[in-house]
């Protein structure tokens, strides 16, 4: 007998095995049986550059990079997509993988996330179910088919006659475990992939291996506890802030007093007071490094007072935001269209009633509880290690390589637990990483950069504002004949790292009219809140975009690419959050004009059964009073609280949502309290009901917080909000009673997204409830006591 290396097609994947000649025929027969079909054909176009499988980059085209089946039948799973906290992606992904592999959930004993030198695929920690899950399903399905073929050979039984349960393949009276089949060695299954792991969305696994129908999933659908929780509650989790390397220095950065300020002179520190402190500058990046963390904090505070900068005042100021937004240049970037049905303009002429309103959504802040932190470690051999927490470690890798003018393969990003970012870091950096690497490269030691609270509020990206002009008409029967909305916003995805910008080092391009392929940094403004009311004959949504505030434009400012400005960025339920506030507020305003109950009014304008079902669910659970708004008891004066009800709905990532809230408003003080909040969600297949419930509750709290509390305060020079007093968020005392109705709908055949959503539709529901209570419609977030008093007095 002699050794033979043979390759076998597995639905477009390629299994390479060293075998003895005897039995090889059966092997080929077994696998060629499964290796035909569309999947194989689709995969042939995948001649893409794979990372080489060096010490710093796993070979993403091998299934072994994704899953290792150990001899004891346990499994290690790896994904470049990392955890982001709102529900556990590792738990949900492992549930999906267990189902596709036909193993119990407990077989996946280890899950490695995010580390770029030992996980595959890259990709963003967002849209987990529609961006991340398909890759995992496919890789697991390829492996499953390969294992079937191998078992067929070993047992001498055709694949069609095999049964699999809990990682044991049986047939012909014999059985073999996955662990025995793989034998603790590499599986050597090449899977077809395309794309670049360091791109925004990461790698895509190609082909169409047979996946299990979701209706047959058994691990999916169970409320398995989050893998991440036990270490968090016991204090044993390693968050990025806990990373300590030998010889590491603590750094605090002295950020400029204005977004566009340039360094004039750096202050000096008293050597007696700070004997070990080291002041480091690179361009406009100024930092203090010290072996003692508290010394670095104190020294940075003193240095900030002694360092001189040029003045800069290129922002409109938040008090003037919506007036200023009228004057921005929306004509340069292409106008994007959402629904475009019939002829809204012409139809307005026939409307019996015409309503028009402008809705205003302020600049928002992701505002993680933990300010950004990272450790940079530039080694003498040129290898750059970055220890970080964020939503796209692989894309950060490319950003660091660009900044340091080195090959991607020389950069290793290690991922840790950390504070939720709600979208802020889905383009790689969180702010501290580049600063840490720059400083480490200068001092030749590992450097830990921990932003203070004010740094995080004032130097991270922001959720862009939105101005929405809506015009709608009702016919004489109270039905909508036309609905037209123009949405205006500033740039929505600027991932240029602030450290590189301050230091004057290379970054990715700034937001542009025509961004590079694969980039999401175009300044055009897309429609993110899809139109759900298909019974409206004429509807038109348009989006108008422009550049970041304060960055200038490439037309007027030669320094545009390196100007910082108020960098807009996606934030939980991006774009849709802003737009749904306008759409769903106007829907209730129209219902009131038509004198129809607002839930019924929505139902009357859609044929989408899933939408009707979620609306009926919140109606039933919330103790909804079926009647038009405003309430017969509505009042705009008095010290006594008036009660109102409001609703809203949303479609996002193939998930239908509806919400009903009850609020109290004290007209004299303007204080709004949300008393009850009921959400109904239909995501199709539910992966983990309890995680979904918790995620929805949390998203709803964020929605109440945005509606009642949040707005970023900035003046002409920069962000003024610097802490939790100047950027208040909802506290536990103001949390309503929350109820969540989960509608499982497996016939959809898809897992809809649900980590985003509630913070998008809750503000409109609260606005509509305030109208119900008072007869006045609030159209500008947040509904602070001062704003509500003004509204009621107007």
């Amino acid at each position: 007998m002699s050794a033979l290396e043979e390759t076998v097609d597995v639905f477009g994947a390629t299994l390479t095995r060293s075998r003895f000649v005897k039995g090889a025929g059966a092997m080929v027969v077994g696998l060629s049986f499964v290796g035909t079909g569309a999947g194989a054909k689709a995969a042939t176009g995948s001649e893409i550059p794979l990372l080489p499988g060096t010490a710093h980059s796993p070979n993403v085209g091998l299934s072994d990079a994704w899953f290792t089946i150990h001899a004891d039948n346990t499994i290690t799973m790896r994904t470049g997509i990392a955890e982001m906290g709102q529900g556990s992606a590792s738990t949900a992904f492992a549930q999906i993988a267990a189902d596709e592999l036909n193993v119990p959930y407990s077989a996946i004993t280890e899950y490695v996330m995010g580390d770029t030198d030992r996980t595959p695929g890259g990709g963003i920690a967002a849209g987990f179910m529609f961006l991340g899950a398909p890759n995992i399903r496919k890789v697991a399905a390829y492996i499953y088919q390969a294992l079937l073929g191998m078992a067929s050979t070993q047992l001498g039984v055709p694949v069609a006659s095999l049964t699999v349960k809990d990682g044991v393949v049986s047939g012909g009276g014999k059985s073999v475990t996955y662990g025995q089949l793989v034998g603790g060695k590499a599986l050597n299954l090449s899977i077809p992939v395309s794309g670049d792991p360091t791109s925004f969305l990461g790698l895509t696994v190609l082909g169409n291996p047979p996946t299990k129908p979701m209706s047959q999933y058994q691990v999916v659908g169970r409320s398995i506890p989050m893998r991440t929780i036990p270490t968090i509650v016991s204090g044993q989790a390693t968050f990025v802030g806990d990373v300590r390397l030998p010889g590491m220095l603590h750094a605090r950065v002295v950020h400029p007093p204005a977004l566009g300020a340039k360094l004039v002179s750096v202050g000096q520190l008293d050597k007696k007071e700070f004997p070990n402190a080291q002041v480091v500058t690179k361009g406009n990046l100024v930092a203090v490094l010290d072996p003692s963390e508290y010394a670095a904090i104190q020294a940075a505070s003193i240095l900030a007072g002694k360092t001189k900068w040029t003045s800069w005042s290129g922002l409109p100021g938040s008090g003037n935001l919506f007036t200023a937004m009228r004057s921005f240049d929306y004509a340069s970037a292409p106008v994007l269209t959402g629904v475009n049905k019939g002829n809204a303009e012409a139809a307005f002429a026939s409307a019996a009633t015409r309503l028009s309103a402008t809705y205003e959504y302020p600049v928002e802040k992701h505002a993680p509880i933990g300010p950004t932190c990272a450790v940079g470690d530039v080694r003498p051999d040129g290898t750059i290690y970055v220890h970080m927490h964020g939503q796209n470690p692989s894309m950060l890798r490319r950003e660091i390589a660009t900044m340091m003018n080195t090959a991607v393969d020389n950069v290793v990003v290690r991922w840790y637990d950390g504070s939720g970012h709600y979208g802020r870091s889905n383009g790689g950096n969180t702010g501290a990483e580049e600063e840490a690497v720059i400083l480490s490269s200068i001092v030749g030691k590992p450097v830990r950069v921990q932003w203070m609270r004010a740094d995080d509020m004032q130097w991270s990206t922001v959720g862009p504002p939105e101005l929405s002009d809506v015009v709608a008409g009702l016919d004489s029967n109270g039905k909508i004949v036309a609905f037209r909305v123009n949405h205006y916003s500033t740039a929505g995805q600027d991932d240029r790292p602030v450290g590189a910008l301050l230091a004057g080092l290379p970054t990715m391009p700034a937001p542009a009219i025509s961004p590079p392929p694969g980039s999401f940094s175009g300044i055009s403004h897309g429609i993110s809140d899809p139109w759900m009311y298909d019974q409206v004959p004429n509807a038109l949504q348009k989006g108008f975009g422009t550049w970041n505030m304060g960055q200038g434009t490439p037309k007027t400012d030669p320094g545009y690419e390196q100007n910082i400005g108020l960098r807009g960025h996606s934030m939980r339920t991006p774009g849709q959050r802003q737009q749904n506030f306008a759409h769903e507020s106007m829907m209730s305003e129209l219902a009131a004009a038509a004198k129809v109950d607002p839930i019924q009014f929505r139902i009357d304008h859609t044929s989408a059964k899933r939408l009707v079902a979620v609306l009926n669910a919140v109606k039933e659970k919330s103790g909804w009073e079926t009647r038009p708004s405003p309430s017969p008891k509505a009042a705009t004066t008095g010290e006594k609280a008036v009660i109102g009800q409001g609703c809203s709905a949303m479609l996002r990532s193939n998930t239908y949502w509806a919400c009903a809230v009850k609020v109290s408003v004290v007209p004299k003080t303007g204080k709004v309290q949300v008393l009850n909040l009921v959400t109904a969600v239909d995501p199709g297949t539910v992966v983990n009901p309890r995680q979904l419930k918790r995620m929805v509750e949390g998203g709803a709290v964020m929605g109440v917080s945005e509606a009642l509390r949040e707005q970023l305060v900035f003046n002409r020079s920069g962000i003024v909000s610097r802490d939790w007093v100047t950027f208040p968020i909802l506290r536990i005392m103001d949390v309503p009673d929350i109820e969540t109705v989960i509608i499982e709908n497996p016939s959809v055949g898809d897992i809809g997204g649900a980590g985003e959503g509630p913070n998008g539709f809750v503000p409109a529901a609260i606005a509509n409830a305030i109208f119900d209570a008072t007869g006045k419609q609030p159209r500008r977030l947040p509904f602070t006591p001062k704003y509500v008093r003004t509204l009621l007095n107007g």
């Binding site: 982001m84 906290g85 709102q86 529900g87 506890p225 989050m226 991440t228 929780i229 036990p230 968090i232 509650v233 016991s234 204090g235 044993q236 989790a237 390693t238 968050f239 802030g241 806990d242 300590r244 003692s292 963390e293 508290y294 010394a295 904090i297 505002a367 993680p368 509880i369 933990g370 300010p371 637990d417 950390g418 504070s419 939720g420 709600y422 921990q450 203070m452 609270r453 309890r690 995680q691 918790r694 995620m695 509750e697 949390g698 998203g699 709803a700 709290v701 964020m702 917080s705 802490d723 939790w724 007093v725 968020i729 909802l730 506290r731 536990i732 005392m733 949390v735 929350i738």
Partner: protein
């Protein structure tokens, strides 16, 4: 100027070197490598850094290390032993405090960054109020911020832990 100090943390006396005004948080993190308390704001506004000082919740980010000498500090890591002591058992400490167990069973944390302070404040509350109402829980925890919005789960977990602790198991 750095001084040598002795501080008692989770039942053990530690010798540490730090300037007297160093906030306790940095000593816990950098000298004792205790990672339960976390840096959130440095301003006593969010509660991520909370520890118990003689059983009462304090903000370690603004408490000078010199102010805790002679007193007993309990961090998240020390809650199981604290629970064993409260019950008067001499057996080895349980793996988890009933609050930590309830936090798992109720699946409270999302990102988890703030949860240290929530559990520490809850331990303080339950030491004086054995069966707190929802309103009492809200009042006690109103100085702690969670951006993931886990407040509903926190209330449910504290109520569960209170029931467990009342049984003394």
């Amino acid at each position: 100027m750095a001084s040598k100090l002795k501080i008692k943390v989770n039942g053990l006396v530690h010798s540490v070197t730090a300037s007297l005004d160093t906030p306790l948080l940095y000593v816990l993190h950098n000298e004792l490598h205790l990672h339960g308390p976390r840096f959130g704001c440095g301003l006593a506004q969010c509660g991520a850094c909370s520890v118990l000082l003689d059983g009462k919740e304090i903000r370690s980010c603004v408490t000078p290390v010199a102010a805790v000498s002679g007193k007993a500090i309990t961090t998240l890591e020390g809650l199981p032993a604290l629970w064993a002591k409260e019950r008067g058992t001499t057996a080895s400490a349980p793996a988890l405090h009933p609050l930590q167990q309830a936090w798992i069973e109720q699946q409270v944390p999302q990102c988890g960054y703030c949860q240290n302070g929530m559990m520490i404040q809850a331990a303080d509350l339950l030491s004086t109020t054995r069966n707190p109402s929802k309103l009492q829980i809200k009042q006690a925890l109103n100085g702690h911020l969670c951006r993931c919005g886990t407040y509903t789960a926190i209330i449910e977990a504290i109520q569960q832990a209170a029931r467990t602790m009342a049984k003394g198991v």
